[in-house]
Amino acid sequence: MAKYLYNEEAVANLKLGDTSVLDRLVDFESARAAHLQKEHAKKDKRMPLDEAIATFVKDGDIITDGGFSYVRTPHQAFYEIIRQGKKNLQMIGAPNTNQSFFITYGLVTHSHSSYTGAEMRGIDKIYDRALKAGKFTILSEWSHGGVAQGFKAAQLGVPGFFSKQMLGSDLVRYNPYLKVVQHPLKAEKDPSVFVPALYPDVSIIHCHAADKYGNAYIYGPAVNDLAVAAAARKLIITAEEIVPENDIRYNKQGQIIPFFYADAVVEMPFGALPGSMPGCYYWPRQWWEKCMRFGGSSEENNLAFCNEWILGTKNQYEFIEKLGGARWIAEARRQTKAAEADNEDIDFSYDEYTLTHDPGRYY
């Protein structure tokens, strides 16, 4: 591991005593070594989810995900990490919404902050409460674009980017990885922020289809996935379906993650649940409202909610049964197709969950 000269003001502002906890995220040499050591041959990498998590997620790892908050995010794989009780994890992402599930169980102890919350459904009171209780430490503050550039720099094979984002803001004063530098060619003063390439330990990406080698197809927004697939030391692909390699070669145009990044390929229908999956299923909207409103209202309620849905289910099929089974599947598919104009327009009104009204259904 190389030695790093972090932004000292940020280290002091964040009250980080030992900065070695910061190193692996930016350590190119160990990431490249991991990439060289992993299987480069086109081999069958299929395995069950529990084996993939047990093999490739270690205590202390820096984890990131694909998708966007709760769109095509690998929630079911995350829940398996929680069931297996992996500890001392760091999380980074843009957004970084899903760390709160881990923080609830004390499994994520270090957070690289970019955005935590549920948009119109408000701030994440679970994160707020846990921060005040000292249940985790913030290691760095980012904008979405800053994190995206760090991952993209790793994918494009450069030590970092000169960015015009985050300049002058408190993000630079609360992010040890960022330093303000002068444009080396410009005669006049022209500051940029140096954003280093970011190398998480594990990326988990849920995709629409993958072959057994790990060529993985994404439909809809790719967000940061092509970058985090390349950046991570280890990559777990979960896929709605496993298809023959020729299906990828002949039929799947667009955004493909190449097989050599992948360490494990998991067949995982409904792997994004309770998130949405473009082309496949819409959100169980009431689930998220209950998560944020009921879970947000007290730590006891949050734990009861997570215990019921995360520890109380063994897999995605039990999760679907709780959401309403085949009826839920049919409604969720109908809604997502209508949202994409692939169906006649339907009425998107629904019976919202509030603290005084639990509709008891999720579609």
């Binding site: 502002n13 009250k15 998708g67 966007f68 908050s69 709760y70 769109v71 843009a94 957004p95 902050s113 970019s114 955005y115 935590t116 919350g117 948009e119 119109m120 701030i123 994440d124 994160y127 707020d128 921060l131 005040k132 503050e141 980012w142 904008s143 979405h144 674009g145 800053g146 995206a148 550039q149 991952f151 993209k152 015009k164 984002q165 985050m166 300049l167 002058g168 803001s169 408190d170 993000l171 609360y174 003063k189 022209d190 500051p191 940029s192 809809g220 927004p221 790719a222 967000v223 940061n224 092509l226 970058a227 949405s276 959100w283 909207r285 949202a339 994409e340 104009a341 327009d345 998107f348």
Partner: protein, 262 residues
């Protein structure tokens, strides 16, 4: 179905005022919520040739229902292309976004934004908020920014508790000297008024006020000294019956973002 005869509520008024900032033929970077209503309202009324873009990477989607999230299919509905996140901000840097809208929990006298935390101690905030998301990126890069939010003295403090995003920084030329791109914040819109920034000092200044609000009341709702424009303060133009009907029948017929919480 919504009552078409009811008087306009503050959210509908806000959507209209925001929409008036949008010029035809421009590329508009949109967050969900009221700016989304405003963008589609503008497109259906005075600015039919605008292009809406979203942080999901969605470019020029076909309008549909109100989206449930920035990643909702409604933000990339049959988009000719969907770009990656790093690209979506680069679009602003490279000069392919004309105007963007940002929300805030706090905005200060120089248009700097806080969406991180309320309180004086970072490690022990009164409340922790969402963090930046794309807020900082857009404020750093976009040619013209319009800031939208509620107005109380706590939400309009002299100095924000955490500078998530830079507006005019410390006023004068400080934004440019810090290396930031674009023309900085052009306007702040609250239910009570529309504010701009003094051309040289870059301090917040009243531009127009909602009918019934005078300068003294606006000042009482602000935690720093507001600048007064030369001459009389104009009243903010209120929503027309035609635009109100478009909001209620076409843009947000279910009132997802433009009905008042009960």
């Amino acid at each position: 179905m919504r009552d078409l005869n009811a008087p306009a509520n503050p959210l509908e008024t806000l959507a209209y005022i925001i929409a008036q900032q949008i010029e035809n033929h421009s590329i508009v970077y949109i967050g969900t919520g009221i700016p989304m209503v405003a963008g589609i309202l503008a497109k259906k009324t005075h600015a039919p040739d605008i292009t809406l873009v979203y942080e999901s990477g969605g470019q020029d989607p076909i309008e549909g229902d109100m989206p449930w999230s920035v990643g909702c299919p409604m933000t990339w509905r049959k988009s000719p292309t969907i770009m990656e996140m790093s690209y979506s901000f680069a679009q602003s840097y490279n000069g392919y976004v004309d105007i963007g809208f940002l929300g805030f929990a706090q905005v200060d006298m120089y248009g700097n934004i806080n969406t991180h935390m309320i309180g004086k101690d970072y490690h022990h905030p009164k409340v922790r908020l969402t963090g930046s998301g794309g807020n900082n990126d857009l404020s750093s890069l976009t040619e013209k920014m319009v800031l939208v939010g509620l107005q109380t003295p706590d939400k309009f403090p002299e100095k924000v508790d955490f500078a998530t995003s830079v507006g005019w920084l410390e006023g004068g030329d400080s934004r440019k000297e810090a290396g930031l791109i674009g023309n900085g914040p052009a306007a702040v819109i609250s239910p009570w008024g529309v504010y701009d920034f003094h051309p040289t000092s870059k301090r917040m200044r009243v531009k127009s006020l909602t009918p019934g609000v005078n300068f003294e009341l606006a000042q009482q709702l602000t935690g720093f000294e507001l600048l007064k424009p030369d001459g009389d303060i104009p009243e903010t133009k209120l929503i027309t019956p035609e635009c109100l009907k478009v909001i209620r029948t076409e843009v947000d017929p279910r009132g997802v973002f433009t009905t008042m919480p009960s």
